[in-house]
């Protein structure tokens, strides 16, 4: 009898992961440009309150002008603001050693930087250049949200 119960428990254990992945997803893509000295602009502002499941900021890409002169950009990421899960992260993207377009304007390219930052309800991604020099910097982000269907 114990063997049967163990097998039933094992069967249930196998079923649970399948149920846990039963969600549907939406993808997102965002763009912002920063060029004013000591300013902040919003790249992505995502809010989901409709039974949201795990969501993710997947990647980030920035392109810096060829006449960048050392200007950088700080990327400020806040997830699940105002909750016990809130996380505040930041990275500074410095183009100094980036590859450059060899034709066109010769822009500096970050390519897509993989981030995979998880969130459940809200995501805010800001660009800031305070004390980081001034240049016209273009950035993109990709993300997805998922929902457990009712």
């Amino acid at each position: 009898m114990k063997t049967k119960q163990t097998l039933i428990a094992a069967l249930a254990g196998l079923t649970i992961p399948i149920a846990a992945t039963a969600n549907v997803a939406r993808v997102g893509y965002a763009y912002a440009q920063i060029y004013q000295a000591n300013s902040t602009v919003t790249l992505a502002n995502v809010s989901r309150n409709d039974g949201v499941n795990e969501s993710q900021l997947v990647g980030l890409k920035c392109i810096f002008p060829s006449n960048d002169s050392g200007a950088k950009v700080k990327v400020l990421i806040t997830t699940d603001a105002g909750t016990t899960n809130e996380k505040d992260l930041s990275i500074t993207v410095d183009p100094t050693y980036f590859q450059q377009e060899s034709t066109g304007a010769g822009q500096f390219l970050s390519d897509w930087v993989p981030l995979h930052v998880l969130f459940f309800h809200t995501l805010l991604v800001n660009l800031n250049n305070t004390n980081l020099g001034t240049a016209t910097i273009n950035c993109w982000a990709s993300y997805w949200t998922s929902v457990i269907p009712e």
């Binding site: 969600n23 993808v27 997947v58 392109i63 993989p114």
Partner: protein, 138 residues
């Protein structure tokens, strides 16, 4: 004893799909006709994961953009539809050849428990010959 065997067989059946692994898929589509829609990934018959999307715009793009729409759970009550517009205005350009505008691979890596369908649409977004690719799993 028979019950035990039955349960064991059931457990094995559940394990098989996860052990079988996913098939790697790669799709391509070109959109060139004004105000049209083309499939980048036709509706899959099984659950799928969208890994990434890439588009290349011609050097004489003239401001044309493309709207990418992603459907998960096609035809289901819980179907989710999301879309975004890829605008090449500030994209990098290829280093030789025609100087096309390159999106690079836009990463998503989103798996879903249901079917996937991805379309390209250029309604109201100008007209150019835009090539797109998708990497996905099913």
């Amino acid at each position: 004893m028979r019950i035990k065997h039955f349960i064991l067989a059931g457990a094995l059946c559940l394990l098989v799909p996860s052990l079988a692994g996913a098939a790697v898929e790669y799709s391509y589509a070109q959109i060139s006709t004004a105000n049209s829609t083309v499939d980048l990934i036709p509706t899959t018959s099984v659950a799928a994961t969208l890994n990434a999307v890439k588009c290349i715009f011609p050097s004489n793009d003239g401001g044309a953009a493309v709207k990418i729409t992603v459907y998960f759970g096609v035809g289901q009550p819980f179907q989710q539809v999301s879309s975004f517009t890829v605008d090449p205005t500030y994209f990098e350009r290829e280093s030789n050849g025609a100087g096309q505008y390159l999106s690079g691979w836009i990463p998503f890596g989103i798996g879903d428990s249901d079917t996937l369908h991805v379309t390209l649409n250029n309604t109201g977004l100008g007209t150019a010959t835009i090539n797109c690719w998708a990497s996905w799993l099913q």
